[in-house]
C-alpha cells in the first residue's frame, strides 16, 4: 500500500465509503433476519474494497453493471442508502419503484442500470453499453462486475469476445471471492487465475489484491485510462472473499474454518483502517468518528425507508412498455 502518496481526504473518503457499505450490509442482514425486510439478499461484506476501489477510480458519468450481489456496487457508484433501502423494503419510491428488489437495484441516472441477477447476464450488457459509448464518441468507460462463478457462462465468453474485437472501453471486473454459491473456484476451472483467461481474447488481464482498496483503485485507474485511450477492454481479477453467507441464512459450512479465519484477518476495512492510522494525520479517533457518522447515516436511512409508502395496485401494470 502506498497510502503516503495520496492525500488524507481521499483516503479517508475511501475508508468511509467502505464502511458505509459494511454498515449498510450489516444492518440489512439484521433486518432480514428479524423478518422486517422481505425477499432474499446476497451481501458483500468483505468485498468492499472491490466496489469502492473500482468506483473511486471512475468518473461520475462512467457506467457499471452489477449482479445478484449489488448493494456495494450501487453504494460505491453513488446511489443513496435511502433509495436502495426503500427498494429493499419494496417501497414505491425506491430506486426501481419497488419493482426491482435487492437483486436488481440500480439507477440509470447514476450510471447503473438494474443489476442483472442472471449470472453472467450483465457481461454482454456492459459490452453493449461500452459499444454505445464508443459509437457516440463519448469518453466514458463501462465497468462490468461479476463473480468467479460467472466465468463459466457462455455470456462471459461471448460478451468479452465482442468487447475485444470491437476494442471497447469496458473493464471486466471479476470479483474472485473463491466461491460461486457453495462451489469452490478450483472445481470449475483448471486455471489458478481468472485473469489468465484474458489471453484467450487477446486482451490484458491482471490479478489484483482485491482486499487492498488502493491496489484496486490503481489497477482500475490504469485500466480506465487504457480504455479511454481506445486500448480496451481489460480484464481485472480482484482476489477477495465474502465474509458472509452466499444468501440469507447461509452458514457457509462448505468453507473451511481456517480459510474463513485467514480471510477475516484480511478484512479490507480492518486492514485499511490500520494502514491509515500509520499516517501522522489520521488517528483511531478519526476512524471512530467516521464509524459513528456512518452508523447514523444508515440508521437514518432505514428510518426514512421504513416510512415510505408501498406501490399501489395500479403500479402493477405500469412500466411494462415505454
Amino acid at each position: 500500500m502506498k497510502e503516503t502518496e495520496y492525500d488524507r481526504e481521499f483516503l479517508v473518503d475511501l475508508y468511509e465509503r467502505m464502511l458505509l457499505i459494511r454498515e449498510f450490509e450489516e444492518e440489512v442482514k439484521f433486518l432480514f433476519l428479524e423478518g422486517t425486510m422481505p425477499g432474499t439478499i446476497h451481501q458483500c461484506q468483505g468485498q468492499e474494497a472491490a466496489a469502492v476501489g473500482v468506483c473511486s477510480a471512475l468518473e461520475e458519468d462512467d457506467v457499471i453493471t452489477s449482479t445478484h450481489r449489488p448493494h456495494g456496487h450501487a453504494l460505491a457508484k453513488g446511489l443513496t442508502p435511502e433509495e436502495i433501502l426503500i427498494e429493499l423494503f419494496g417501497g414505491g419510491t425506491g430506486c426501481c419503484r419497488g419493482k426491482g428488489g435487492s437483486m436488481h437495484v440500480g439507477n440509470i441516472d447514476k450510471g447503473m442500470p438494474p443489476a442483472i441477477a442472471i449470472v453472467g447476464g450483465g457481461i454482454p450488457l456492459a459490452t453493449g453499453m461500452a459499444l454505445a459509448l464508443k459509437m457516440q464518441k463519448r469518453p466514458q468507460v463501462a465497468v462490468c462486475f461479476f463473480g468467479d462463478g460467472a466465468t463459466s457462462e457462455g455470456a462471459f465468453h461471448e460478451g468479452i469476445t465482442l468487447g475485444a474485437i470491437w476494442d471497447l472501453p469496458v473493464i471486466y471486473v471479476c470479483e474472485n471471492n473463491l466461491y460461486g454459491a457453495s462451489t469452490r473456484v478450483d472445481e470449475i476451472t483448471r486455471m489458478p487465475h481468472i485473469a489468465e483467461r484474458a489471453a484467450a481474447y487477446g486482451i490484458r488481464g491482471e490479478t489484483v489484491e482485491g482486499n487492498d482498496v488502493l491496489a484496486v483503485h490503481e489497477a482500475t485507474r490504469i485500466a480506465a485510462r487504457q480504455c479511454r485511450d481506445g486500448e480496451g477492454p481489460v480484464l481485472l481479477e480482484l482476489e477477495t472473499y465474502r465474509l458472509t453467507g452466499h444468501s440469507r441464512r447461509d452458514a457457509c459450512h462448505y468453507q473451511p474454518e481456517e480459510e474463513r479465519e485467514a480471510w477475516a484477518r484480511r478484512d479490507p476495512i480492518l486492514v485499511f483502517g490500520r494502514a491509515l492510522c500509520q499516517r501522522d494525520d489520521v488517528e483511531q479517533a478519526d476512524l471512530d468518528r467516521i464509524r459513528c457518522d456512518v452508523e447514523a447515516r444508515v440508521a437514518g436511512a432505514i428510518e426514512t425507508a421504513r416510512g415510505e409508502p408501498a406501490p399501489t395496485l395500479a403500479d402493477l401494470t405500469t412500466d411494462v412498455y415505454a
Binding site: 419494496g90 428488489g101 463459466s152 408501498a310 401494470t317
Partner: protein, 339 residues
C-alpha cells in the same frame, strides 16, 4: 407410509432410482457439495455421500451441462439435470429445444434421449429474474414431456416415471411447495407434503388427477395454483357452489380423458395459472377443451391468471400478480353468474 415434503420425496425418488439403475446420475449447480445445501431447495441434500461419482456439481453453465446431459443420454446414461431456478432454462434453451427434443426425430427414431430436467418455478419475493413460470415455453414442444408436481406423492412417483421414460421429461416444481427446511425455508410456503408409500411406485406422466369431486364447475390448475384452487373450492362450497378441482399435473400431453369427463359433467371451466395470461398454458388448455368439448360448455372457458407484466418485487405487487384463492373463487362466481 410416512408423510414427506416434496423436497424429501424427490430426494428419495432420486436416490432409489440411482440405486436401482446405475446409469442414472445427477448434474447441476451446487447439488452435492459437502457442507452445502443440496441444490437451491435441498432436494439433493446429501446425495454425494451415497453417490460420489454420480453427483456432478457443475460450473454455472446451464447450456453446457444441459447439452452434456443430452450427450450422455444418447450414450445410454439417464441424467437428471437440475436448474436452480426455472428462469435459467432460458440459458439452456438451445440444447433443450434444438437437441434434446428433436434428436430422436431427426435421427429417424434411431437415437433416444432419456433425460430428466427439474426446474423450480413461481414468484417468491426474489424479483423478476427468479420468478417466472416457465411451463409455457415447453408445453407443446414436440419430443418433450412436461409435468408439474403439486404434492409429495406425485413428486416421487412422477420423478421415478420420468427417470424410466425414454424421452426428455421436464418436471416443474414450485418453490413454495417444496417444504425445504432449515436455512432454505421459504416464506409464504404452502404445504405440499403427504403420505408416501415405502414401496416402489410410479405415477404416469399423462394422467390428470381429480382432487375434489364436484358437479357445477371444473377448476383446472397445477402446482401452487392447484392448492389455491382447492382452497377456493372450500370457500365456494360454503356459498353452495360445488366445484370439481383437477390437478392438471401433466402439461404435455394433457389428459383430455379426465378433463373431458369433468367438463361434460359440469359445463363450466375455470383455468388457473400463475404467469401472464396471454400465451400461457391456459391458452392451449382453453382452446383444446373448447375444440374437443365445446358442445358441453355453457360459457366460454374462463382464465384466472396473472396480468401481462413481469414479476414485480414489492410484496404488495407480487401478491396482486399471483392469483390467490379469492381471485379464483371470484372467477368461478363470475363464470357461473354470466348465464
Amino acid at each position: 407410509m410416512r408423510r414427506l415434503t416434496i423436497a424429501e420425496a424427490l430426494r428419495e425418488g432420486i436416490s432409489e432410482e440411482m440405486r436401482r439403475d446405475e446409469t442414472v446420475f445427477c448434474l447441476g449447480e451446487d447439488i452435492g457439495v459437502p457442507g452445502g445445501w443440496g441444490g437451491a431447495f435441498t432436494v439433493t441434500l446429501g446425495l454425494e455421500e451415497e453417490f460420489p461419482e454420480r453427483t456432478l456439481n457443475t460450473p454455472i453453465a446451464e447450456l453446457g451441462f444441459f447439452g452434456a446431459a443430452v450427450g450422455a443420454a444418447i450414450m445410454g446414461m439417464r441424467p437428471i439435470a437440475d436448474v436452480q431456478y426455472g428462469d435459467f432454462l432460458f440459458c439452456a434453451m438451445d440444447q433443450i429445444h434444438s437437441n434434446a427434443s428433436m434428436l430422436r426425430y431427426m435421427s429417424g427414431g434411431t437415437v433416444k434421449v432419456p433425460m430428466v430436467m427439474r426446474a423450480p418455478v413461481g414468484a417468491t419475493g426474489r424479483g423478476a429474474q427468479h420468478a417466472r413460470n416457465m411451463e409455457r415455453f415447453f408445453v407443446g414442444v414436440p419430443g418433450i414431456k412436461v409435468v408439474a408436481v403439486s404434492n409429495a406423492y406425485d413428486a416421487k412417483g412422477m420423478l421415478k416415471a420420468a427417470v424410466r421414460d425414454d424421452n426428455p421429461v421436464m418436471i416443474f416444481e414450485h418453490k413454495l411447495l417444496y417444504g425445504s427446511k432449515g436455512a432454505r425455508t421459504e416464506s409464504g410456503a404452502v404445504d405440499g407434503s403427504c403420505e408416501v408409500p415405502d414401496e416402489d411406485f410410479t405415477v404416469p406422466l399423462d394422467r390428470a388427477a381429480v382432487a375434489r369431486d364436484g358437479e357445477q364447475v371444473t377448476v383446472l390448475g397445477w402446482l401452487l395454483m392447484h392448492h389455491f384452487a382447492l382452497a377456493a373450492a372450500e370457500t365456494l362450497a360454503t356459498e353452495g357452489i360445488d366445484a370439481e378441482v383437477i390437478d392438471v399435473r401433466c402439461l404435455s400431453p394433457f389428459d383430455y380423458d379426465t378433463i373431458g369427463r369433468s367438463v361434460r359433467k359440469t359445463g363450466y371451466v375455470v383455468i388457473v395459472e400463475e404467469g401472464p395470461v396471454t400465451g400461457g398454458v391456459g391458452a392451449e388448455l382453453a382452446a383444446g377443451i373448447t375444440e374437443r368439448f365445446g358442445e358441453y360448455l355453457m360459457e366460454p372457458v374462463r382464465r384466472v391468471a396473472s396480468p401481462d407484466v413481469p414479476v414485480p418485487f414489492a410484496p404488495v405487487l407480487e401478491n396482486a400478480y399471483r392469483p390467490d384463492a379469492e381471485r379464483i373463487a371470484e372467477g368461478v362466481r363470475l363464470l357461473l353468474q354470466s348465464h
